[in-house]
Structures are given as C-alpha cells and as structure tokens.
Amino acid sequence: MSTDFTQDHFALFNLPRRFAIDTALLDSAWRTAAAEVHPDRFVTAQDAEKRVALMRATRVNEAYQTLKSPVARARYLLQLAGVDTAEETNTSMPAAFLMAQMEWREAIADARAAANVDQLEALSRQLRGDVKELETELGSALDEQADHAAAALAVRKLRFLEKLDQEIGDAIEALLY
C-alpha cells in the first residue's frame, strides 16, 4: 500500500526511530525521496500533480531538516513521546551551567570589543566541542536510559549554545561588513 503521509519522519525515510541515526543513510533516503517528488519532475504535469508534488517535496525537506539537526531530532523524538521540551517556558537551569553561560557571554563581548575575528572563530570552534559533548549526553539519555527529563534538559541547554553560536556569528558578520 502507499506511504501514509501522516506517518512520522523516521518512518518516511525507513529509518529506526532513535537519536543515533546513520546520517549517510538519511542523506541518501532524502535524496531518493526528493528525486521522486521534486517539482522539477512535474513541470509539464497536470495541476493536481503539481500541487501534490509541491506539498510532498516540502514535507520531505521538512522531515530531512528535522532529522538532520541533532537538537531538532531530539525535540521531535520527545514530541513523539508526548514530552514538551518547554524551551520558552522552563528557564530553570543548573547553576554551573548558568555560570558557564555568563563566562561565554563575557568572552564573546570581549572579542567583539577588541574586533578580534580570529578570537571569535576560536570561540566558535570551542563551542562546537561543547555542543558535541552535550549531544553525546542527549543520545544516551534518549536511546539508552529513556530518561525524558534529562533529554529535555539537554535540549534546553543546546538551545542556549545555539544562541551563543548565533551571537558569535552575528559578531563576526558585524565586524566583517
């Protein structure tokens, strides 16, 4: 029977529903699915097919974007499990994490004030290391311990780091342009 488009993103790409995924397999499944439904394939088709192709291609891209990003993938897995990551509302964070955040902010502000792009790029690399670490934690919380609360906390922490990375990027751009 045909694919049910109400199915989840993992099922769409024939992937197991878990945090640790084979990204090469995801890439190739996305490209295969995108090749089937891309509007370029339907330029001379009837209108009904064109509309459906646009919807399907959009859906395929959305599923891919969600599964490709570790944070979005974790948020989505939690959502499927009925857990709200409450990123806007739950602001309670471990004190040590908040301290580290303040240090990050200061470091970024200093590098920005000194107009030091190299320093900002070094911070960005360092931040990427922290992100990797948190993602490993997130993986084990989701796939091994099934600890939703810990996973939701890790997602919230990663959101903070995402914002830091955005700040670094903005600072670099502001200095370059």
């Binding site: 694919t3 370029d40 001379t44 399907r56």
Partner: protein, 619 residues
C-alpha cells in the same frame, strides 16, 4: 505528465517528439539564449553569428523598439531613451537605487517599482526586460523553427522575492512560459559539473555586469545540492567601469556632465577595462559636447589600485557563504569563475589567493550560465537526457514576520532547501480583537526597518475572543522558483479566514493581461478563439493523463472513488462538446481537483518503491 513517464514510459502523448525549450541568461550587460540540440547545449547566435545580445533597449522617434547592438550604438547619442542595465532596477523602488545621479535616466517613482521616462512613455524595468526577452524568444523560434514549450530564466542567486517576481513577470509579458527561475551560479554549476563529471564541494564565483553571487555546492552522483549562497545584488562589472569613469573625471577635473557626456565616458571606461585584460596600459580618448578633448593613459597597476576595494567587497560574501556551509576554504575542490567581469586578471588572482588554488576558467564565463539553463530547460520540458540528475537549491535570504516593537522574527532561515514551508502561531493581544495585520519581511537584520518589506495584509473576521485565546497560524510557502506565498488562518473557532498574498512588487494578473493586450496586435475574436483552443488542449491532456494513470495505478482507488473520477471525466467530455471556454475550464478544474488524492497516492507509492529499491541496493 511526468508521473506518467515514471510509470509507463511508452504512454506519453508523443514520445519521440523533441519539445523546444531554451535557457535564457537575462544579464545586466548582455543576455543570451541557449538550447540543447542533439544532446549538447549550445548558444543560439543572431543572424550575424553573434551570441551575445547587449541588454540595451532603445525607444526610437518612429515608435520602434530597438534591442541589442543597434541600440547600444546609439546610447551616447540618445541616452534618455536608451535603457542599459535595466536589471539593476528590477523590483526596486526609487529609494533603493544607490546614486540615482549616476544614471542618465529620468526616474519616476511608481508604487512598488521605479519607472524610466522615455519618449515612448514611462517604462517599467519589467517592460524593458520583456523587450529583451521578446528579442531572444524570436531569435530562438526562428532558429529552432517552432514555438517554444517554455524557458528557464536565470536570476542572480541573491535576488530577493521582489526581483524574482519582477523577472517572472517580464517573461510572461514577453509571452514566455517560465519552466523555472534558476539561480545563475547553480546554472553555471550544472554546465560545469555535467561537463567535467565533478564530485565534491565547489564554489561558484559569479561576477556579472551588475550583480555578484557566490554559491557553495556539493556535487555527488548526479545531485547538485546548494549548501549556501550569498552575494551583493548591486555590485558588478559596471562598478569597475564607474571607478575608471570617476578616475577620468578626477584626472580631467570635470564637473556636472550632461547625460550624453556621462554615457560617452562610461562607454570609454568599459572599453578601457576590457583593454586592460590583455594589455599593460590603455589610452582613453573622448571628445565632449563642449569641444573639450579627453586624452589619458590608464595603466593596469593604476586600475588595480582604484578597483581593489571592489574586489575586497566580493570576498566578504565568499566568507559568509563558506561559514553558512560550515566549511573552510581548504575544503573546496574547485572554484568556477562565471561572468564576463571575472576575465579581469586581478580578480582571478585575488580569488586564487583566497582559495589557495587556480580558479577554473575552462568554460566561457559569458556563456556558462545560459548553457546550464538550457540543460535544465531540456529536462524540465520532458526531453530526458541520458543521465538523471537532480537540483536542490536554497533561498538566499531569511523570510520573517513583523512582531511587536518593530522587530523581525525569522520564519524560514536563509539557505533552507526549497521548496520549504514553515508555520508559526500567533495570537491576539486585545480582548475582542477581530483583525490582525501580517507584515512579511525578507532579510537578516533584527529591525523591521532594516529588512525588505515584501507585503502587508490584514486577516479579518477573527471571532471576538479574550486576548490570547485566538490561534492564528501563519504559513510561509516558498516554491521551487524561490517565490513566496503566505496564508493566515484562525483555527480555534472552526471559523476559518484565510488569505493568500503575492508580494507587492510583482504585477497583478490584471496588470499583466493589460500589458499583454496593449502589446498584442490580435483582435478580440482571435483571443477568444485562442483561449477556447487552449482550454480544450488542456482538457484533453488532463483526460489522457488521468486515463493513463488509472491504467497504471487504478488499484489505489476504491470502486466508489473510481466511479467519481469516471464521472468527472465524462463531465469534462460533455463540457468540451459545448465548445464554451468557461464550461471547459470549470470541468477541467473539477476533474483536476478530483484527481488530487489519486495523484498523492501514486506519488507516495513511487517514493516508497524508490526507497525500497535504494535500501535493497544498499544491503
């Protein structure tokens, strides 16, 4: 019909008929048209064998429209009525145009887009571009000996929604069926990649007459995936001419030149720039209208000196694109140079230094975009090439919405793969609020005033509720041309209000049809007869496609669904028998809607089969 071909290759209406389709590079300085002939892409020359068509349009005293070299030859003599570089004004208001005094034109500020005052009246840049496209269209039809099925038109990757919409409008005005708007660097990558069997990460550095684009692409096994794109939509080869022009003014101590002298010196400046590509120095001479003679020598070293900041300006978007693609210069396998301006040796040198490798210049930088567009047009028109390939492009600029306090909230971030859609929920902030205004913005900055305003609309008819109770879902959809449409819908009460907008810079369908009627010599009867003919052709196409789909995948429908479809087909047959355009169109519409669910199921089956094949292949 494409679905048809996937399922039943033999069933398409005329399997061996080659459908005429072209790629058009609508450039700031020059335009080209290309097509695929016996499986190789080639640029179509004019009757004198010239490939380029200067993007210059002149409106003559006799009421004629002259396009190309003949218009270019008169541009110094008749500067007000000879429009060059119209592309710079596409989708732009008067306030957007930097240094209005630099152009010899008389601008008229019109809603949405500037117009240029000529003796033929106020001309929108869309109309000027349509004149160029019309010339290329007849060049192609004369050379190919038939009517075109459609065209792929290229646009700078960094064009925003207003500029894209304006380009599409120009093509419609020229009577072209737009198969796709294609980003120029992506077109170049297709031509280059397919020619060289390239695999890996490539950067396309595209410096045209008036725009600069840089794209980072991952090429692998027939997939062209754009990772990021950046650029400057008002930086190009023209700016190098202008630097020379300013240098001449300074050297000769000239002030307040008239339009004729300005144009003359800009032309001399362009010639000097081109001469310096091959020679160490060049002489600039001109006789001004007041009898003053200009005679100067410009050396390559001096030229490099006065234009160095322009080159530096191109390297900023390059850095940004690499950052967005999350790669470094060392990860880049090759840098493809596109656009006539990249012939300048000091640009090649600067780019080579930045990437630590010699840029690739083996394809003609003037033709490569048109060739890539032709290859894409050939595939889109349904002429399958030997190898299957797929293009995954992105949007260049983030799309957002105005929120409280004049701030922009991003809905779709830049460099998202298209097509893409995102929805966001908003609520009312006053008790009993029945309307909400939606302001659509494009750009990266936080303040609304720093972004480009694409459209504003008001969603009315929200049932009165307490503040915060309404749930208004705003959905942004970007199609494969990179064009945006927005819908808003209140969803709590079951009362749905929904509106669809096209950004305000585009022409409305009414304006397009008015311009079309203005420009067509057809009498009313011809148009009516033509409309009926077209409606019937469409209807018959739909019936044939539906019948073929039923033959292939009829098992996806229940008996009930099947009989509904059969009824709609019968309805369309009887509508055709009435020979009334309105009835045929209405019945076509009904059958089209009735087949939508069926089309969806068939597409889903194809995805599933493709993925299965893939996974079995992987085992």
């Amino acid at each position: 019909m494409a679905l048809l071909q996937i399922a039943e290759p033999g069933l398409s209406a005329a399997p061996h008929q080659h459908r005429l389709a072209v790629g058009i590079d609508l450039g700031t300085t020059n335009s080209l048209v290309a097509t695929v002939k016996s499986s190789s892409a080639t640029v179509l020359p004019d009757e004198h064998g010239r490939s380029l068509l200067p993007s210059v349009v002149r409106y003559t005293e006799q009421g004629e429209v002259v396009v190309g070299y003949a218009a270019q030859a008169e541009q110094s003599r008749d500067p007000n009525n000879t429009i060059v570089s119209a592309k710079r004004f596409m989708g732009r208001g008067l306030a957007d145009i930097q240094d209005v005094g630099r152009s010899p034109y008389r601008f008229v500020d019109a809603p949405g887009m500037v117009q240029l005052l000529t003796r033929a009246g106020a001309k929108s840049p869309v109309e000027v571009s349509a004149d160029i496209l019309r010339t290329l269209r007849s060049r192609a039809e004369d050379s190919l000996g038939g009517e075109l099925v459609g065209a792929v038109i290229t646009v700078p990757a960094y064009f925003d929604d207003a500029q894209r919409q304006a380009t599409k409008d120009a093509a419609r005005l020229a009577g072209l069926n737009v198969l796709r708007l294609l980003n120029e660097p992506t077109a170049a990558a297709i031509a280059y990649g397919l020619d060289n069997g390239a695999e890996g990460t490539y950067v396309v550095y595209d410096l045209g007459g008036g725009t600069f684009d840089v794209s980072v692409l991952a090429l692998s096994r027939g997939v062209f995936e754009v990772l990021s794109t950046s650029g400057d939509s008002s930086l190009g080869g023209d700016d190098f001419d202008h630097r020379i022009y300013c240098w001449v003014l300074e050297q000769a101590d000239l002030h307040g030149l008239n339009a004729h002298d300005t144009r003359l010196l800009l032309t001399r400046a362009r010639e000097a720039k081109e001469a310096l590509t091959e020679h160490a120095e060049t002489r600039i001479t001109a006789l001004l209208s007041d009898g003053l003679t200009i005679d100067l020598v410009l050396t390559q070293a001096m030229f490099h000196d006065i234009s160095k900041t322009l080159i530096d300006k191109t390297l900023l978007p390059v850095r940004k694109a690499l950052r967005d693609a999350k790669i470094g210069a060392e990860d880049v396998k090759g840098v493809v140079m596109v656009g006539g301006a990249t012939r300048m040796p000091h640009i090649q040198k600067a780019v080579g230094q930045y990437f630590g490798q010699t840029p690739l210049t083996n394809l003609d930088p003037d033709k490569v975009v048109a060739l890539g567009a032709a290859i894409q047009a050939n595939v889109l028109a349904g002429n399958k090439g030997e190898d299957e390939w797929l293009l995954l492009d992105v949007i260049p600029l983030s799309l957002g919405i105005e929120t409280m306090g004049g701030l922009t909230e991003k809905i779709i971030p830049r460099n998202s793969t298209i097509p893409v859609a995102r929805a966001q929920e908003f609520t009312t902030f006053k008790d009993g609020q029945t309307a909400m205004s939606v302001h659509i913005l494009q750009g990266e900055r936080e303040l609304v005033s720093d972004c480009r305003s694409l459209a504003k609309f008001v969603l009315r008819g929200i049932p009165p509720m307490v503040a915060g109770a309404a749930r208004i879902r705003v959905t942004y959809q970007v199609d494969a041309d990179g064009l945006l449409s927005v819908t808003a819908r209140e969803q709590t009460s079951g009362v749905e209000a929904s509106i669809e907008v096209k950004p305000s810079y585009g022409l409305s369908d009414d304006e397009i049809s008015r311009m079309l009627t203005d420009s067509l010599a057809h009498v009313q009867d011809d148009i009516a007869a033509r409309k009926l003919r077209e409606a019937i052709v469409d209807a018959e196409g739909l019936i044939a496609a539906t019948a073929a789909a039923l033959a292939a995948d009829g098992d996806l429908l229940s008996a009930d669904e099947r009989s509904q479809l059969d009824d709609a087909i019968a309805g369309l047959h009887s509508a055709i028998a009435t020979q009334t355009t309105r009835e045929v169109n209405a019945a076509t519409q009904r059958l089209s809607q009735a087949t939508e669910e069926f089309a969806a199921r068939r597409m889903d089956r194809n995805i599933q089969q493709a993925l299965k094949g893939k996974h079995i292949g992987n085992l």
